[in-house]
Structures are given as C-alpha cells and as structure tokens.
C-alpha cells in the first residue's frame, strides 16, 4: 500500500512527546502528545468522597472526567458542557485504568482524574488514558503497571497503526481504540466501529500490542526524567 495521507507507513506511530508534573497544583499530572493530539491529565486524591452514599468502605473509588476544550476540534467550536460522548469516554477511561490500581488502602475516598485536550486529531481517548496513567504513577499510587493506549485501524483492507483525524473522519477507516497492560498481557479497553472479520481483529490486537510497547517506553522515560539529576 502506498504511504498514508500524512506520509507514514502502515505500522508507524505518529511522533510522541510526554512530560510529567506539568500541573503543579495536582497530586500527579502528565502531558501526552501523539501527532497533533495533545492530552493533559491531572490527579487529585485520594480525598474524601462526597456524597457519602457513593463511598466504598472497602477501597477507594476512581472517577475520571474527560473534556475537549471548545477550540480543540477540527471544525467549528464545540459548546462547553458535558456531551454524551465525553461521558462515555470518561467511564471508559476509568475502566481502562482500574485493573492496575490498588486502592484498598484508601477506603471511603475518591481519586479524581481530569483529562483536558487543547488540540485534537483523533486518538483522543487513547492519549487521555496514557496521560492519566502517567499522572497516577506520578501521584504515587500503587499500580501493577502502566496502561498504554492507541487506536489501530483497517483502511482499504490494510491494518494501520495510530489512526489520525483525516483517516478517522474523512476516509472510511475502521477505528479500533485499545488499551493494553503489558505485564498482564491483557486489554482493558477495546472498541470498534466499522467492519472487521474475527481474523482481522486478532491481527489488529497482535500488532497493537507491539506498537503499545513503543508508547510504553515513552511513558516510562517521561516518568523517570522528572527525577533526572541535573
């Protein structure tokens, strides 16, 4: 297949950038950028959870909120205020991160994760999960591993890595966002919209794992860099 619309090969990720500790007020924070999608994540907690009826006496509760800034989209301005899409992604982000977290030491408390995006070009929920993962590690939580996430796709029958905005919205790409936990070798997020056969999906998962390890390396490096000796 010829090169993709932005010149990448099928299995090439967009260039990535990651930085930890970008929001001083938060207990943990990180920025993750892939291509033209930039996500900021801040963690506040563990802290007391109100209303009380939502408290879990056995362990802390994770609460995620995903939001795109009104000027971050490709088209017209998006009116602020939660959309149904944002709510869905917030819940998905939470489910993607929960398997690695151990919040048993914080009963009746809540850990809030806020994800904001100033610029988007597809793969936003994935960038959000990566940023949130680093932010949780930065905040000192006990985690079995980091969670890495990206969007794989099928375009004209070919598997492509890291779907960009043009491929997602204009060309008819089957979009498959996934989140992978390397140490467990399991997926904590998986969605699909388009057409795919069972075999194609298995191939996407296999390729996705390999590419995720590249993202994993970037995330690890960003966490360590915060403490580099000057």
């Amino acid at each position: 297949m010829e090169k993709r619309c932005d010149g990448r090969k099928q299995d090439e990720l967009r260039p990535m950038k990651a930085k930890v500790g970008v929001i001083p007020r938060a207990d943990g924070s990180a920025m993750f950028q892939i291509g033209n999608t930039i996500a900021y994540a801040a963690v506040y907690g563990p802290r007391e959870l109100f209303p009380k009826f939502m408290q879990n006496p056995e362990r802390g509760v994770l609460r995620c909120a995903y939001n795109m800034m009104p000027f971050s989209g490709h088209g017209e301005r998006v009116r602020p205020g939660g959309s149904r899409r944002a709510k869905e992604i917030s819940v998905l982000t939470e489910k993607a991160l929960m398997p690695v977290l151990n919040l048993a030491e914080y009963p009746n408390s809540v850990v809030d994760v806020f994800v904001e995006l100033p610029q988007t070009d597809a793969g936003t929920r994935c960038a959000g999960i990566c940023a949130a993962s680093m932010a949780l590690a930065d905040a000192g939580f006990e985690m079995k591993d980091l969670v890495c996430s990206l969007s794989m796709g099928i375009l004209n029958g070919e598997m492509i890595t890291d779907v960009n905005g043009h491929e997602d919205c204009v060309l008819e790409t089957t979009d498959v966002p996934m989140a992978y936990i390397p140490s467990m070798d399991k997926f904590s997020l998986l969605q699909l919209d388009g057409d795919a056969s069972k075999e194609q999906l298995q191939e996407l998962l296999k390729k996705g794992k390999e590419r995720c390890m590249e993202i994993y390396a970037v995330m690890q490096k960003a966490l360590k860099e915060k403490y580099k000796v000057e």
């Binding site: 207990d27 943990g28 907690g45 563990p46 802290r47 007391e48 006496p57 802390g60 690695v100 151990n102 030491e105 914080y106 009963p107 009746n108 408390s109 590690a137 930065d138 905040a139 000192g140 939580f141 006990e142 985690m143 079995k144 591993d145 980091l146 390397p182 140490s183 995330m219 690890q220 966490l223 360590k224 403490y227 000796v229």
Partner: protein
Amino acid sequence: MTEELKIKDREIAVPGEVLAEGLGYLPSKGIQRVNDKLVAQRLGMINVEGKVIKLVPLTGTYLPKVGDRIVAKVIDILMTGWRVDTRSPYSAVLSMKDATADFIQKGADLTQYFALGDYLVTRIINVTSQKLIDITMRGPGLRGLKGGRILEVNSNKVPRIIGKEGSMVMMIKHATGCNIIVGQNGWIWISGEPEKEMLTEKTLKMIEGHSHLSGLTDKVKEFLEKETGQKIDLAAIQPAPEETGTQEYQERPQFRERRPFNDRRQSFRR
C-alpha cells in the same frame, strides 16, 4: 535459574518495571514478586542493600499512622471536641479529654481553646480499619500554633528533612534561628523573622526537590552558610530525635489566660 539485577542502586523505578529476575533477590514494600521477577508497584527510588531491594517512594499522599506526630488544621467544632484536617483523605477527631490536661467544663465554648483554621501539633493515637482517626494533644511538644507560617511539603520527604536523629532540621534551626515543627504529614510550621522564615522555606523546598540526591547535607550546609554569612559548626548542634523543648511546655499557660473557669476550680479545691 538466572539471577539478574536489572536496575542499579539510586535509579528511579516506574510501576510495572522489572527490577530483578531470579529468586535470589528479596522484595520489600512497593515491590512484588511476579513469578520469578521482582516488579516495582509504584514510582520510587531503588536502594539495593545486599540481596534486598527497597523502593523509596518519591510521591504519594500521607496515610495516617498510629504514633505519628502531625500538624493538623481545625475544620469543625464538635459537641465534645474538634475535627481536624490531617492532610490525608481522612479527618481526625480530637476529643475534649485528649486536648489538654486541664479540665474543660461540659458545654464550654470550645473555640476558646482551638478555633476554625487553627493549626495544632498533635499525635495520632488510633486508626481503625475504616480510617477513623483519634488524636491527642496531651504529650510533650504537642500544642496549638500561633503566628508563623505553614509550609506544605511532600510527606515522603519528611524523613530527609528531619535527618538522622533530627540533625538536618536542627542545622536549619541553628542557622536561621527559626522555630520549626515538622509534621509527619508534610505540614511544617515555621516561625521567626520574616526574612529568616523565607530562608527556611527556601531551604526546605530545596531539600524536598533534591531528596533523592546524595551529599544533600553538605549542599544544605553550604547554602545556609552562603545565605546567612555565618559558618555552621555541625559538632555544636545537639541531635534531637524527638523535638521536645521545655520552652514549648512553658508556653502552655496561654490556655489558662483564655479559660474563664480557673477561679471556680480554685475555690472548689479549697
């Protein structure tokens, strides 16, 4: 079985990172054995001591422990005591009987003792499984704080700030002449001349930022000597494993000044 250490001493580990392979190495808090690998479970600095791998957390919220001396802030006045913020997800209760050795009349105005927003030096005496916390102020060095400023530092850095047997904090006290009380929860009370308070704050922030580096004590000594223009004689500074000052004890009479019941008690005794 290959035994391999995958990380060096004083390196930073991230969650999920494999620190060692083989059963020869022993994990400690923050590290788990998964099959025959030792895996870091949180962000921290690695210390390799022989066959034991330790993980020193660099970040993370304070979790109240029995016996800890903390600086707490009054957030609510209750019927028989006060509720305080411990800088953790859990507030603590200071009951009247644990607040002072003096007798407090039932129905007394508790704000005469500690009002909303007051900072107190307290000790944790009980933590239940549901994280209900009891604290006391009866004990040496425990009291209410007036004036000064409160500095917030990462609670994980408190041991570094106190130093071995209190040596680091004593050095700073000596150099700046400030009164310093370090809470295990990362709230530090500083009181002195405004410029000296700022110097203390700067020094503490410096320790917080560089706690994972070696030679910190010397760096701090150099910094203080430069800023104050006075040499520091480490030998002259007495180590203080527990910051009990009889000076602080003597200041307790301020309770008596506020209490209106003193006279009544005197007559009762007679």
